[in-house]
């Protein structure tokens, strides 16, 4: 209609008398503005060049059912299982917010990549067994038509845990639990250990447990990229930004015993764009905190832990950053192809890397020696003082070695009991946690993703019961202590 109005002489519409009807110049056409106005109006019409709303395709959407904070292996695993278990197909809109798309500080990319079932908590063993089954069939789970299959480069070499006299009894009971859950672990005496691995010095070793199957190490970057590719093909949206604020509302209720309780519900997540002040408020129904080492900060933003200490409101999420070093060295006469992932009784560990007599290893520092997690600089003296001596004592060939390179990464360290936090928060009702794994998150990621997705979609755990890992345990003081942590 407007187009017809513009055509001179055809209508008596908006512009009043037809423009061309007057002889000579009309009163409107004082300075030649009319052709300009005509051009502008024409460009507004569909097909024109002018976009009145600027391009916002780089911003996340305004509404999303689930917002996953953190795009590492845990966050992507949750996204994958949410899209896989949803009914009907396409029912749930998922947004993954990741601050750093290069994953330069992410624990996933910097991980040594080991997977084992030699834990003492049965739930940890079940999580690891499920994840192994996922990794074995990764090309069925994460297949994208027309894309090449994934090769996660799994080394089925097993884990070898060494125990001194003090730890031998604990190791035996652990192995019993592991066998009950279905892990294939065998116990070896120092004699058998020497026969099997002649390069080990068994002085001080009372017992060793060796995983025969389903243990080893793999390439975490490949798993991450495979998950990313699959999750994008399933319709999950990615956003390159940082979560800066949660907008929530509170409601007060009384418990059965008459106490006043404040429940919070998150309504919006403010996602700030990278290197700019612009932010997008994303309206959401659920938030999943999979931010890894920074989960504690995200939880504080959501109001977890704001209250008098000792109460449920005042219980913070006890996940903090801890820095760990990994060193790569070359040892020409070192152990051969059969080298498993060796974990010494004192906490030092190493594994073979490739075919060229290179080895990766490190050690967890004690509480007093914890390095400052402000940056990812490597302390080489730590290797000289804390890593090399125990390893050289255990493997005499390591007395001559040359450090090739080293890097540092963060653990999302759970200061309470060094095991993961999974499930909803009791007071902030729509925030779910999937964090705090303290160094074994990668090997449990597929199973944890499934557990959180089941919690979100069904309200309870189905395949693996992770009730011991809920948030409540921090308030109730029930530790799920693991006796086998690197």
């Amino acid at each position: 209609m407007l187009r017809r109005a513009l055509q001179p002489g055809l209508s008596r519409g908006v512009l009043g008398r037809g423009l061309g009807t007057h002889r000579g110049r009309s009163t409107l056409d004082q300075n030649g503005k009319v052709p300009e106005i005509k051009k502008k109006v024409q460009s507004v019409l569909p097909g024109g060049a002018w976009n009145p709303l600027h391009d916002t395709s780089y911003l996340p959407p305004e509404h999303s059912d689930v917002v996953i904070v953190g795009g590492g292996v845990i966050g992507l695993s949750v996204a994958y299982w949410l899209k896989r278990l949803e009914k009907p197909r396409g029912a749930i809109r998922v947004l993954v917010v990741e601050r750093d798309h290069t994953y330069s500080q992410a624990s996933t990319a910097l991980s040594v990549g080991g997977i084992r079932q030699q834990f003492s908590v049965p739930e940890n063993i079940q999580l690891s067994l499920f994840s192994v089954e996922f990794l074995r069939n990764i090309n069925e789970y994460l297949a994208v038509v027309d894309d090449p299959p994934l090769d996660i480069q799994f080394n089925p070499s097993g884990y070898l845990l060494l125990a001194s006299e003090k730890g031998a009894a604990v190791m035996e009971s652990n192995v019993k639990v592991q066998r009950q859950e279905g892990a294939k672990v065998c116990l070896m005496s120092p004699e058998q250990l020497r026969n099997k691995f002649p390069w080990i010095n068994t002085e001080g070793v009372a017992l060793a447990s060796y995983g025969m199957e389903h243990e080893g190490w793999f390439d975490p970057w490949c798993l991450l990229q495979g998950l990313r590719r699959k999750v994008q093909s399933m319709g999950v949206l990615f956003c390159h930004g940082e979560v800066t604020r949660f907008v929530s509302s509170s409601s007060h209720t009384k418990t059965t015993s008459g106490e006043e309780v404040t429940l919070r519900r998150i309504h919006e997540v403010h996602v700030k764009m990278d290197r700019s002040l612009e932010y997008q408020p994303v309206e959401c129904a659920l938030v999943i905190n999979a931010a890894g080492a920074w989960s504690g900060q995200i939880a504080e933003l959501a109001g977890v832990g704001k209250g008098p200490p000792g109460t449920l409101q005042g219980t913070k999420l006890p996940v903090e950053l801890r820095k760990r070093y990994v060193y790569l060295w070359h040892c020409p006469q070192g152990p051969g192809l059969e080298t498993p992932f060796v974990m010494d009784a004192g906490g030092a560990y190493f594994r073979r890397e490739g075919l060229g007599n290179n080895y990766l290893g490190g050690c967890s520092p004690t509480e007093e020696e914890e390095p400052d997690p402000g940056n990812l600089e490597v302390d080489h003296d730590f290797f000289q003082d804390k890593v090399w001596p125990p390893l050289a004592q255990r493997v005499p060939a390591f007395e001559t070695l040359k450090v090739r390179s080293a890097w540092a990464g963060y653990y999302d360290y759970n200061t309470f009991d060094q095991n993961g936090v999974v499930g909803p928060h009791p007071l902030v009702v729509n925030m779910y946690f999937a964090t705090g794994f303290s160094g074994h998150g990668l090997q449990q990621a597929p199973a944890v993703g499934r557990a959180v997705a089941e919690m979100v979609l069904d309200g309870h755990f189905q395949t693996i019961n992770l009730s011991p890992f809920l948030f409540n345990r921090f308030y109730l003081g029930e530790k799920v202590q693991e006796h086998n942590i690197i």
Partner: protein, 257 residues
């Protein structure tokens, strides 16, 4: 790095840039055969319609399920006739060959039929299994691992035997003396590292493994790992420059002043 595996069966060639619309389709498809044309058409439609994409995913899933079906366990035969008979039945069904202790090789013919006489053997152990070219995978190894007195296992050119399967062979460590993995496309040096459990192994064939990144070095490391085993396979000098010719070339070139 190791040679990349061939893409999944339903992968089609990269779509050219100059193909827009239905008319572009006929120009892009090379006149090589109706099968390729059909697959390109399917890909073209799958890029545009969710239903066709779901159909392609279903077809892919069906291929995977076919392999699973081939590797199902035969629990009835195992309960009735024992683990050796069940293992033999499994291998024969896949198209391989079995040798019982003291008997001749039993093979299935070209049409997949084989005689069921071996079911009458009472607890005669299976001595050798020839599973060359069979679609045996991780699940299917269940039937093989029950054969506690297996001495010789040939897994040549099996397309689904990978590193995970090799990690599973340790229960056969007491009896296995000969293992052949020649030509398996999915086995790499990482799986070979888990063969050190097989201490009684005397002959190991690891020739022609495309996924092994450095065949010569791998063979040396495997020989070190299994000292009493004869390792057949890659020539250890493979990949090294030939010495004397290189040196003569060097002396021939003029030294820059």
């Amino acid at each position: 790095m190791a040679a990349p595996r061939a893409p999944l069966h339903l992968v089609t060639p990269v779509w050219n840039r100059g193909t827009r619309g239905i008319r572009g389709l006929s120009r892009a498809v090379a006149p090589e055969g109706s099968q390729k044309k059909g697959r390109s058409l399917l890909q073209f439609l799958a890029d545009r319609f969710y239903d066709v994409q779901a159909l392609r995913e279903y077809l892919l899933r069906k291929q995977v399920l076919k392999v699973h079906q081939k590797n199902r366990p035969f629990t009835y035969i195992k309960e009735r006739f024992g683990p050796h008979a069940a293992g033999a039945y499994f291998i024969l069904k896949q198209g391989g060959a079995v040798k019982f202790q003291g008997k001749e090789w039993i093979r299935s013919d070209a049409r997949g039929h084989f005689s069921l006489d071996f079911l009458k053997f009472q607890a005669v152990p299976v001595e050798a299994v020839d599973a060359s070219g069979c679609a045996i995978n991780y699940q299917g190894l269940d039937s093989l691992l029950a054969l506690k007195e297996l001495q010789s296992l040939w897994l040549q050119r099996c397309p689904h035997v990978d590193d995970w399967c090799l990690g599973r062979l340790h229960p056969l460590a007491n009896s296995l003396q000969e293992l052949s993995l020649a030509g398996c496309p999915r086995i790499s040096e990482r799986g070979l590292a888990s063969l050190h459990h097989l201490q009684n192994l005397r002959r190991l064939d690891i020739s022609d493994l495309p996924a092994v990144s450095n065949p010569g070095l791998t063979r040396i490391l495997v020989e070190e790992m299994l000292p009493s085993c004869q390792v057949l396979g890659a020539d250890w000098a493979q990949g090294l420059p030939s010495g004397p010719e290189e040196q003569s070339r060097d002396t021939a070139s003029p030294i820059p002043a």
